[in-house]
């Protein structure tokens, strides 16, 4: 019952600081904060916005608990927690991929079509047989990686803005889907379907565990590998990164490939639930805009260079809880969109201003800093 409540405030800390396991909690010793800053120069500032995101999440949860209670239901009941975590899984994986792409200053609008394509390839390859699972999963991920590669090359080598590159690739894939697949196709292997229903104690779905693992992995990549640091550097300012000796093409391509692979895994999760490949399943979920919204809700700068997977997870959770409580309250479906729109703007407004003003100057603080000027600069996408 209280599992999520207890975990919610804790989550921002635990996976983020694997090197300093003794520093959880909101009031962190200065020592560990300094150490973290040494590990990654931008860490300290992220604490503020990430903590705020989870404060917003806690607020949303509290309101939801009350509203669910008014409806005569229990927010922390087993079925409800399961529903929320399940709802988080698919969007979460996509949003993690989107985080990578946005961090590096690009964007991925091809997400819905890659999701659909991966369910179709996987289901078509499995044909309902367990023996086909490894090959089908492998093929799915390879195809997704190739699509990501194509977008990455377009963005980095051909200088096409991520918006257009991914929109274009998405359109190409959508045409392929509409031409070659009419309706549902193939069948998921029984094992995969079992995975879609399995979980721990009927509270935590396997899909959610997969999401946590993916989040942990990507966080590690971002924080502790050269690739991760380069992603931040390029997203912050591609020209400066290049002049500083970073090969800009490879990280951009890697981000897109990783994003597409994560999206394909999300597709596999969807397949484990629906049992058949579907050419429209990705568009149905509006995953392109929702994932971007979740990423920004999670405190990642749309222009790139700043953000975290932990924040994104918070953003995804806010969406999931919101949708859950509106479902329980039987809100008019049209009004749901109204509330979603309002919450997105208000939630981001809560911390957008503050985290931006606290942003330290990029090079040692010698440059004269006007708060207004810095705030303005964050609004600007560093275009290709």
């Amino acid at each position: 019952m209280s599992a999520t409540a207890a975990r919610t405030p804790g989550t921002p800390e635990s996976p983020r600081t694997p090197s300093t396991p003794d520093g959880p909690g909101a009031t962190e010793p200065k020592e560990s904060a300094r150490r973290r800053r040494a590990a990654r120069p931008k860490g300290a500032r992220r604490l503020d916005s990430t903590a705020l995101i989870y404060l917003v999440l806690v607020g949303v949860v509290v309101v939801s608990v009350v509203l669910t209670g008014i409806e005569g239901r229990n927010f922390f009941s087993q079925g409800n927690i399961w529903a929320i975590l399940t709802a988080m899984s698919v969007l979460g994986l996509i949003a993690i991929g989107q985080t990578l792409v946005i961090l590096v200053g690009s964007l991925d609008l091809s997400v819905p079509y890659v999701v659909s394509l991966s369910t179709l390839i996987a289901a078509g390859g499995m044909k309902g047989l367990d023996a086909n699972v490894p090959a089908a999963v492998f093929n799915t991920l390879v195809v997704a990686a190739v699509i990501g590669l194509a977008m990455g090359v377009l963005v980095s080598v051909f200088d096409v803005h991520g918006f257009i590159a991914s929109l274009g690739v998405g359109l190409i894939v959508s045409g392929y889907l509409a031409t070659n697949y009419q309706g549902s196709h193939g069948a998921a292997a029984p094992d995969l379907r079992l995975m879609g229903r399995s979980g721990i104690a009927s509270i935590i779905p396997t899909a959610f565990l997969l999401l946590l693992v993916a989040a942990a992995l990507v966080t590690l990549v971002l924080r502790y590998t050269r690739l991760g640091h380069h992603l931040y550097a390029i997203g912050g300012n591609r020209d400066v990164a290049r002049m500083s000796g970073v090969r800009t093409a490879l990280p951009v391509i890697s981000a897109h490939v990783m994003c597409s692979v994560l999206v394909a895994i999300a597709g596999l999760l969807l397949l484990s639930r629906t049992g058949v490949g579907s050419p429209t399943i990705g568009s149905q979920g509006r995953y392109d805009l929702l994932s971007i919204a979740a990423v920004v809700l999670g405190g990642t700068l749309l222009a790139g260079g700043k953000g975290s997977v932990i924040g994104t997870m918070g953003g995804v959770a806010i969406f999931a809880v919101l949708d859950n409580v509106m479902g329980v309250m039987q809100v008019n479906p049209f009004l749901k969109d109204f509330v979603r729109g309002l919450v997105i703007v208000l939630a981001v407004a809560v911390y957008a201003r503050r985290s931006v003003v606290r942003r330290p100057p990029r090079f040692g603080g010698t440059r004269p800093v006007l708060p207004g000027a810095i705030a303005g600069s964050t609004q600007k996408g560093e275009g290709a």
Partner: protein, 364 residues
């Protein structure tokens, strides 16, 4: 505000020196110019497939029906050139369409008040978007996504999903009718007149201090602020202009297509695509307003070309995607001419020595 822009660089940019012809040729190699070449190529291709398309009456009808998206693209241009996005366009159009259907209805006397109301709503939405972006510091992608969801949801909630019916015909004439018996053209649609007026207004606006400051704010908001520009108000005005353009597009669309909940759906992406196709840089600071308009026209020509070519309906998206990517990739190559002249210490490189693609540097 005009003092902020009254300190031009002493060295002219490459695009502003030389004879007119030289400038045109140089301009054509920039993305903003290349779109006109693309437009010409597509036009020739369409006429080759379907010769009757080139006849003035058909052509003017085509321009008339593309007026809404062209106007929307020009509205989107203001926002993009200032470094922001406006995703709320489709929802604004849908709202205006519903107002037209439900408020005007069959009552002719309400046409003028309705237009006033629609423009007012356009201003309010733009103001909300602009202030949310500039004062609340929420990224415009999110603010306008929020307005898109909120506005769309609210309108459908209030109307039960669909408007009552089409508004009175006199109102629809704006988007559907035209001046009859014009020589050569047969008919001159009102939408074309509105389009020309909007385009002329846009060109004038972008040459005014506001336009210059807008581009400056999009190129480098820090510098613009330090130079004394009120960036927040400049950007807010860009959002208002965008919403107003969407409103005008909505009025034309009600006339052209009638009232339906899906009118305006996807317009924001169409408009952004058109603007980018027109060589305007996402992130702000670069691009010409008429290139954005040309981008929208090119996109519409492309759709018509696909229709005339009888490309299998399911493949059309793919062809569209391919062409967008190609056009922008080619344009990005062409950027080497006018790319970021301000960031270079030396005078801008002459066109004969294009900057090397970014991937070749950065060897460590």
């Amino acid at each position: 505000m005009s003092t902020a822009t009254s300190s031009p660089t002493t060295r002219p940019l490459p695009l502003t020196e030389g004879s007119f012809l030289q400038r045109v040729v140089r301009g054509a190699v920039t993305p903003g110019g290349a779109v006109f070449i693309l437009l010409a190529v597509l036009f020739v291709a369409v006429v080759a497939v379907n010769p009757s398309f080139g006849e003035p009456p058909q052509l003017i009808r085509f321009i008339g029906r593309t007026a809404p998206i062209v106007i929307a693209a020009m509205g989107q241009y203001y926002v993009i050139v200032s470094g922001e996005f406006d995703l709320s366009m489709g929802a604004v159009i849908a709202t205006q369409v519903v107002i037209a259907g439900n408020y005007i209805g069959e009552d002719e006397s309400r046409v003028l008040p309705a237009i006033g109301l629609m423009l007012l709503i356009g201003v309010v939405v733009g103001l909300v978007n602009g202030l949310g972006t500039t004062l609340l510091k929420v990224p415009s992608f999110i603010v306008t996504l929020g307005t898109m969801l909120a506005l769309g949801g609210l309108v459908r909630f209030l109307t039960g999903g669909a408007a009552t019916g089409n508004p009175v015909d006199t109102f629809r004439e704006i988007g559907r009718g035209g001046i009859q018996d014009v020589p050569v053209l047969e008919v001159l649609p009102y939408s074309v007149i509105i389009l020309v007026a909007v385009a002329a207004g846009s060109v004038w606006l972008m040459r005014s201090p506001f336009g210059r400051t807008l581009i400056a704010a999009g190129d480098n908001p820090d510098a613009a602020t330090l130079a004394g520009a009120h960036v927040w108000w400049i950007k807010t005005r860009a959002f208002i202009l965008s919403s107003l353009s969407a409103t005008v597009a909505g009025i034309l669309l009600v006339g052209y297509a009638g009232v339906h909940p899906s009118v305006g759906a996807g317009y924001e992406f169409q408009a952004i695509t058109a603007v980018v196709l027109g060589g305007v840089v996402l992130g702000g600071g670069r691009g010409w307003v008429l290139s954005a308009a040309a981008g929208a026209l090119a996109l519409e020509l492309l759709f018509s070309f696909l229709n005339f070519q009888e490309v299998e309906s399911t493949w059309r998206n793919s062809v569209q995607g391919l062409i967008i990517i190609l056009a922008v990739a080619v344009a990005a190559r062409a950027w080497s001419l006018g790319r970021r002249p301000s960031s270079r210490p030396a005078p801008p490189a002459p066109p004969s020595t294009p900057a090397r693609p970014g991937t070749e540097t950065g060897d460590n």
